[in-house]
């Protein structure tokens, strides 16, 4: 999908370098306050893991998976927390920050006067969001391995899966932001994000839902992300996970394409 769509939008000659310059610009703005924000982003999933995975897990007891295996509740919840944190890391950078830069700081107006194209800005911003999201993911996976919730080998694979999840949600975040009219609209996004967080097979296996609801849940991007990462950290990945990967790649490609097109339409009138 990526190889089909992207070359038509971007000629790769110089595009990577120009997107890289966007990343460099963001790195130059890093100040001490930002590290606190980053720290909060890392702590959040760990808090969920302890409170729900371990705390609630003590009440819930062990869980029987659809394939018959029995696992501790924390082991079941941890990969979902990783997926959710990859989602929120990518979204916070590509929604609030991206919207603010585009509409209020008028940052991109200046940049578009250089050889950089809208799609290259989008790609650079996405890459930046990924750097942040991947740091969260790596730190969380270390915690998981230390707590014996997965193996080191599975953690490495899960890291790449989390990166893919980040790219997919980064693409969604940017595309959605181009439709936002004001800051109020972001409340809707937060609600949607929270609903995804609660119902994407994160805390309860989706198999426990009524059939119709289950079908709805299973097409959401966070469910596919949780499914992918959980099957890696618990072991037992199969053909369904190939579908997860293709699905997330498609979401990423569509999101980035829509974001690039709409940025061009809005900024290059």
């Amino acid at each position: 999908m990526i190889t089909l769509v992207l070359p038509r939008l971007v000629s790769f000659e110089g595009a990577g370098r120009r997107s890289g310059a966007m990343v460099e610009r963001n790195a130059a703005t890093l100040r001490s306050a930002y590290w606190l924000v980053m720290l909060a982003g890392f702590i959040e999933p760990v808090l969920y893991l302890f409170s729900i995975g371990i705390g609630v897990g003590a009440l819930v007891g062990d869980l029987t998976l659809p394939d018959g295996r029995v696992v501790e509740y924390a082991t079941f919840v941890a990969p979902a927390m990783l997926a959710a944190s990859a989602m929120s890391g990518a979204l916070s950078e590509t929604t609030f920050n991206f919207f603010g830069k585009m509409k209020f700081m008028r940052l991109y107006d200046g940049i578009l006067a250089t050889p950089v194209r809208p799609i290259e800005i989008a790609l650079g911003e996405l890459a930046w969001a990924m750097i942040r999201g991947n740091l969260y993911a790596a730190a969380f996976l270390v915690v998981m391995v230390v707590m014996d919730l997965t193996t080191a080998g599975a953690a490495v694979l899960a890291f790449f899966a989390a990166a893919l999840v980040g790219f997919a949600f980064g693409g969604i975040g940017m595309a959605v932001s181009t439709f936002m009219r004001s800051w109020q609209d972001f409340d809707l996004l937060s609600s949607a994000q929270f609903a995804l967080f609660l119902f994407s097979g994160t805390f309860v296996p989706a198999q426990d839902y009524p059939p119709v609801l289950r079908w709805v849940v299973e097409v959401t991007p966070l469910y596919r992300s949780v499914d992918l990462i959980r099957s890696i950290t618990l072991g037992g990945a199969g053909w369904v996970q190939v579908l997860d990967v293709l699905y997330l790649l498609a979401v990423f490609a569509v999101g980035l394409t829509v974001a690039g097109r709409r940025m061009e339409r809005q900024l290059c009138k």
Partner: protein, 306 residues
């Protein structure tokens, strides 16, 4: 060599036609001005030349390239100073130049040394490590001009470079732009300040309602559309109108304004003598040389356009 070549250039936004078929040629080393009231289509024209706004119709070639297909290659050789400063408020003054240079693919080391030179040029060296926010309007504008120079452009586009600046800041900007012009940089600017156009432009077009209504050097435009001198008369009393009849036939044109009467004449002193001969006693008399402002108001009218 013609750097900018436009024929029948049109820009429409929905039903609204911002630029209505203009022909422009800008030569290398020239300082070229777009003069016009607000809404004349100057900024839309500049955005098309800056390759951030696709033309709706007509021919546009910049540096002998087509903006529709070669946008990035053209923009690499342009410097743009927009009407509203869009500096990066999250970066320092120096970082604004060094990171901007990176968007042009300029190596970091070159970017740093060029930033130092440019800060010196726009007299901001002492504020290099300051954030952008606390800078005065004039300083921000100078920084924006420095940023437009960071890729050593062939053409610098300046959209109303001194709007909103105090007189000292304006003169400093003019002086810097004049230095650029002396170095052979091609300047294309929009303005509604007549003194700015007279100071900086070798050649200019007057735009009104999306069209070009006059073209030439400031001197030639004054000669063609105005007289050599203008006499401004103010009379005591409620209305200036009653005096207008008595001034009929004086000079080429008599213009009655609410607060004064303008006589467009070739010899101001002779006209004043004639006024006195007709036993008129104005409260004040001013004889001045005709300016681009007279041309501008003559061509675009005195009605306020917004």
């Amino acid at each position: 060599m013609t750097l900018i070549h436009a024929r029948g250039l049109v820009k429409r936004f929905g039903d609204f036609t911002a630029v209505d078929g203009i022909d422009v040629d800008v030569e290398r080393g020239e300082a070229f001005g777009f003069l016009g009231p607000n809404g004349a289509g100057k900024s839309s024209t500049m955005r098309m030349i800056g390759c951030v706004s696709p033309p709706t119709d007509g021919v546009l070639r910049i540096l002998d390239l087509d903006p529709r297909t070669d946008g990035p290659r053209i923009r690499a050789r342009l410097g743009v100073c927009p009407q509203l400063d869009n500096l990066d408020i999250e970066l320092t003054v120096r970082e604004n130049l060094t990171t901007y240079a990176r968007f042009f693919g300029i190596p970091r080391r070159v970017a740093r040394s060029r930033a130092d030179e440019l800060l010196e040029f726009v007299q901001l060296t002492e504020r290099a490590d300051s954030k952008v926010e606390p800078l005065s309007g004039g300083m921000k504008r100078r920084l924006t001009i420095a940023r437009a120079m960071v890729n050593e452009p062939d053409i610098v586009l300046l959209d109303e470079p001194t709007t909103g600046l105090d007189p000292q800041a304006r003169h400093l900007v003019w002086e810097r732009l004049f230095r650029l012009k002396q170095q052979g940089v091609t300047l294309v600017l929009t303005t509604h300040y007549m003194d700015e156009a007279e100071q900086l432009c070798d050649r200019l077009v007057v735009m009104d309602g999306g069209r070009i209504v006059a073209e030439g050097s400031p001197r030639a435009l004054i000669e063609r559309y105005s007289t050599r001198e203008v006499v401004e008369l103010r009379f005591h009393g409620e209305s200036q109108d009653v005096f207008a009849d008595k001034l009929a036939g004086l000079g080429e044109r008599v213009e009655v304004l609410p607060d004064r009467i303008l006589l467009y004449v070739s010899d101001g002193d002779a006209a004043v003598a004639e006024v006195h001969r007709r036993s008129l006693e104005p409260a004040s008399v001013l004889v001045r040389r005709s300016s681009l402002e007279d041309v501008f108001l003559h061509l675009t009218g005195r009605t306020l356009v917004d």
